[in-house]
């Protein structure tokens, strides 16, 4: 315990000492924009900030002049304000009013208008459609396919690719048992297992939704941020003009894992993107084949452990002890130890299969997030590890049947 505390203090001191160094290259403004929208946002922001800074400095200067000159201690006598003539009064009221009107609705208003129209124009000239689904606490990406324009431009069609993107920072760093480790490739709390991959230069229309609570998909360098609302589709778009890796975070409080659902996007040149699509499609075919074969218990347990630690340990803890009362223990629980299937091979209501597939209250419906093999593996794992030893095995084919 003491050693841990010492480590933390040491880390803090290290940060404190290196702070001036780090501040030298600190960002004082929006990060480098890589989409037309982020570029526009940066320009609007810079312009507005300049305007308000000028207003602030001018007003402050007048005030400070007054504070210095018109004080009692330097013997200044109060000079009563004389009521001005009506004409003067109207003049002096109108002047600032007009200046502000121009600033608000012309200098700031017109560029703001164009930005809004651009931001909301998700469909025109778009090349492909991507569906982004927020869930507690991960993002799911589904490629919905090219638009006609995208296909004409020769963009490879990624339709059918679908995956879940989880935080990849190790759990023991997240819960504070070991100090954070940060590398340029995998920054602390800002890296995921499966990155979203987008083609450079293509306008991607993004459909947003959520399976549980509100989330907000945000990459600062893209300048787009949109709420994911359960039961509704919201839209935004990005067009990444520069290859690279871009990172962001969920921006709407979505429960205890809110700080732990980053967005990581790899923008690849079109050829590399085509290669990635081919690889991904191949993987999908292999997985489909895997779902039909008979798996051994060891294979299932091995994959189940991976799936569990990635998806389930956040709430049910790595040991299976859970965080009662919000997140029940899996060790020795009724659901993880009672039978799954009835005599006809159908899964029972409130059985382990039912709960994992369909969820209940805070528990997500995993059928939308995991494939057959992963669900079979994680159920098998939960029943035969974490202090449980039921002994049975669930095959991917059974999960496939249960989805019907």
């Amino acid at each position: 315990m003491l050693k841990q505390a010492m480590k933390k203090i040491g880390f803090g001191l290290f940060l404190l000492l290196t702070a001036p160094l780090a501040l030298a290259e600190y960002r004082w403004n929006f990060p480098e924009p890589v989409t037309p929208m982020a570029l526009d946002t940066l320009h609007v922001h810079n312009k507005f900030m300049l305007i308000v800074a000028v207003i602030f400095v001018v007003v402050l200067a007048i005030m400070i002049y007054s504070l210095i000159k018109h004080r009692k201690s330097v013997g200044h006598q109060a000079v009563a304000d004389k009521a001005p003539s009506t004409a003067t009064e109207i003049f002096w009221t109108l002047i600032p009013f007009v200046i502000l009107l121009v600033i608000d609705f012309v200098i700031m208003g017109i560029p703001a208008y164009h930005s809004v129209v651009m931001m909301e124009d998700t469909r025109n000239e778009s090349d492909m459609v991507l569906k982004v689904t927020g869930s507690q606490w991960r993002w799911q990406y589904e490629y919905m396919g090219n638009t006609d324009k995208g296909s004409q431009d020769g963009l490879v069609d990624a339709k059918g690719i679908k995956f879940v993107s989880n935080l990849s920072t190790p759990q023991n760093q997240v819960d504070g048992t070991v100090p954070p480790v940060d590398t340029p490739d995998s920054p602390y709390l800002l890296d995921v297992d499966n990155r979203l991959v987008l083609p450079v230069g293509a306008k991607v229309r993004i459909l947003m939704t959520s399976t549980d609570v509100l989330h907000n998909w945000w990459v600062p360098q893209f300048g787009s941020s949109r709420l994911a609302v359960p039961g509704f589709i919201r839209e935004t778009w990005v067009q990444v003009d520069k290859a690279g890796t871009y990172r962001g975070q969920c921006k709407e409080l979505c429960g205890k894992g809110h700080g732990y659902m980053p967005v990581v996007v790899d923008a690849l040149p079109k050829e590399e993107y085509a290669a990635w699509v081919a690889l991904k499609k191949n993987e999908i075919n292999e997985q489909a084949a895997g779902a039909d074969k008979e798996w051994s218990k060891d294979e299932l347990m091995e994959q189940g452990k991976v799936v569990y630690e990635k998806n389930c340990a956040v709430c049910h803890m790595a040991s299976g002890a859970g965080l009662p009362p919000a997140f029940p223990a899996l060790t020795g629980s009724k659901i993880t130890t009672s039978p799954i299937f009835d005599a006809d091979g159908k899964y029972l209501p409130d059985s382990h299969m039912d709960r994992v597939l369909n969820g209940v209250r805070v528990m997500p419906a995993w059928k939308a997030l995991l494939n057959d093999t992963e669900i079979a593996a994680v159920i098998t794992y939960e029943r035969n590890a974490l202090g449980n030893s039921v002994g049975d095995v669930v095959q991917p084919s059974q999960v496939k049947a249960a989805r019907q």
Binding site: F11, L15, A19, R27, W28, P31, T41, V44, H45, F48, F56, V59, L60, I62, M63, S66, H70, R71, K72, H76, Q77, A78, V79, D81, L100, D104, F105, A112, S115, V116, M119, E120, V174, G176, P180, P187, Y188, L189, D212, V213, L214, N216, W218, P220, G223, S224, L227, V229, G231, F232, R234, G248, Q249, K251, L253, K256, G257, H258, P325, R361
Partner: protein, 530 residues
């Protein structure tokens, strides 16, 4: 103005003493004192919660608390600061000062006034009790949704959400009762000769505040009640599966929430010009312009609510409407700033603590207002929204614009209320520590937001570490320097140099014609205003 004051013959003779005095009192000064004391206590409670947050955010990694407890602290911090610290402070001043300023013997509805106050302690208990219950294994703590209660997260939440809903109901009833009382008092009990356009600015600020409260609190009460029935009685107001819409809650909430910002600020905008004219030794500039601006801001505050959730997705015309109407609030606000500065211009200023706080207030609130103008822009808002930029912005408006304003009021009126002068040196020390550490706390947060740090996260990427560390250290200085404030108030209440009736050389108005402290029952004989 000519006035007649009443002798002290009835002081401390016609009311119970001890605890029963405070439980049963219908005296506006007693009730005002209770409001202010309650507010001060809750300010410290809410403040210590945020120090817990800043301690956790001091460096990356989780050290002190789990994310769920973190979420509980941020939400309850906000609810306490808004509903239990700022609003009761303004109501406390209203109770103390409005009858004195308009020459009335008391508030119009004294028993209702008593009830309005005594609803507050139970609601404070409702807000904080879930923390204690969780220690005994009952429930899972206070509401963890932030103060905004957004469903579906608040529908998922534990009993803390229900406790908070009932707390908000009680606080809402208390505010509406207080507002009715203030409106009735101001309409009926002004001294002869005091027309509306001769009413002190503080009374004007509160009159508009009271109307805003009556217009919007019922909407909040309705929204949280719908939430309650969604949680427990099978309705689907905010659930798409049953035909509802989670975003509808945001519309209802911010229909209350945006006017709420002005509810917190209008009373301050009322007494700030009074402090300015006192310490500039010349009458406030543009009384009429200020009154009309206050009315305009009050009216406009009701029609701009959706700028709080531009990123939720809205039709383009709606985005444009809310953007332009929000920007339009800068017009009357600019008039106010102009009048405040013009009041100081060519005055004969001295800088006692209330004036220091007021001048600091104008500058810092100006930063809050100008960043608000930038936030109104929809496209840039996609970046600012829910980032630390917004956190910094609304602390400039609500801590600087709200709480520092209230502090100016406390130093301004404390000698009148207690009959003793506060310690000027400590007051000035308090001001400088507060102003400097406040800026050091929140300026880094502007940059954190621009760099991309979302709000309400318990842990952050290492790129945000340095600014968070600066902010945390400054927040602790800010928090601890408030102890000077508390000490100064307590020692002023207990004794100190006697204050004169007028207290300040340039003070004008009916409250300064009474003795310091004023008699328990003041203006039994009505003063007249010429």
């Amino acid at each position: 103005m000519s006035t007649t004051t009443v002798a002290h013959h009835d002081e401390h003779t016609d009311h119970p003493t001890g605890i029963m005095r405070w439980l049963t009192t219908t005296n506006h000064k007693d009730i005002g004192t209770m409001y202010l004391t309650f507010s001060l206590i809750m300010f410290l409670v809410g403040g210590s919660m945020i120090l817990g947050i800043r301690a956790e955010l001091f460096q990356p990694g989780l050290q002190l608390m789990n994310p769920d407890f973190f979420n509980q602290l941020i939400g309850v911090h906000a609810l306490i600061m808004i509903f239990a610290a700022l609003m009761p402070a303004a109501t406390g001043f209203a109770n103390w000062m409005i009858p004195l300023q308009i020459g009335a013997p008391d508030m119009a509805l004294p028993r209702l006034n008593n009830w309005g106050f005594w609803l507050l302690p139970p609601s404070a208990i409702l807000l904080t009790l879930p923390f204690t219950l969780a220690l005994f294994g009952i429930g899972d703590g206070a509401l963890a949704t932030g103060w905004t209660f957004y469903p579906p997260l608040s529908i998922q939440g534990g009993i803390g959400v229900d406790f908070a809903i009932f707390a908000v109901h009680l606080l809402g009833i208390s505010s509406v009762l207080g507002s009715i009382n203030i409106i009735v008092t101001l309409f009926n009990m002004r001294a002869p000769g005091m027309t509306f356009m001769k009413m002190p600015m503080f009374a004007w600020g509160w009159l508009i505040t009271a109307f805003l409260l009556i217009a919007t609190i019922p909407v909040l009460a309705g929204a949280v009640t719908m939430l309650l029935t969604d949680r427990h009685f099978g309705t689907h107001f905010f659930d798409a599966a049953g035909g509802g819409d989670p975003i509808m809650f945001q519309h209802l909430f911010w229909f209350f929430g945006h006017p709420e910002v002005y509810i917190l600020l209008l009373p301050v905008w009322g007494f700030i010009p009074q402090i300015l004219q006192t310490f500039s030794r010349k009458p406030m500039y543009g009384y009429k312009a200020q009154v009309y601006s206050l009315i305009a801001i009050g009216a406009m505050s009701i029609i701009v609510w959706a700028h709080h959730f531009f990123t939720a997705g809205m039709p383009v015309p709606a985005l444009l409407y809310f953007m332009y109407s929000t920007m339009a609030i800068s017009l009357p606000l600019a008039v106010l700033f102009f009048c405040w500065i013009k009041t100081m211009w060519r005055g004969s200023m001295s800088f006692e603590t209330p004036m220091l706080f007021t001048v600091g207030w104008i500058i810092l609130f100006g930063i809050g207002g100008l960043t608000g103008l930038v936030l109104a822009d929809v496209a840039a808002d996609a970046q600012y929204h829910n980032s630390y930029f917004v956190v910094a912005h609304f602390h400039y408006t609500l801590f600087a614009g709200g709480i520092m304003g209230i502090m100016a009021g406390v130093y301004y009126w404390l000698p009148k209320m207690t009959g003793h002068m506060y310690n000027e040196k400590l007051g000035q020390l308090h001001f400088w520590l507060t102003a400097i550490s406040f800026n050091l706390t929140f300026i880094p947060q502007f940059f954190l937001g621009l760099a991309g740090m979302p709000r309400r996260i318990p842990d952050y990427a290492l790129q945000f570490a340095e600014f968070n560390m600066i902010s945390s250290i400054a927040a602790f200085v800010l928090g601890l320097s408030q102890l000077i404030f508390v000490y100064n108030i307590i020692s002023t209440v207990r004794g100190g140099k006697k204050a004169t009736d007028q207290v300040w050389e340039g003070a004008e108005g009916l409250e300064w014609t009474l003795s310091s402290p004023p008699p328990y029952h003041s203006f039994s004989e009505q003063p007249t205003v010429k």
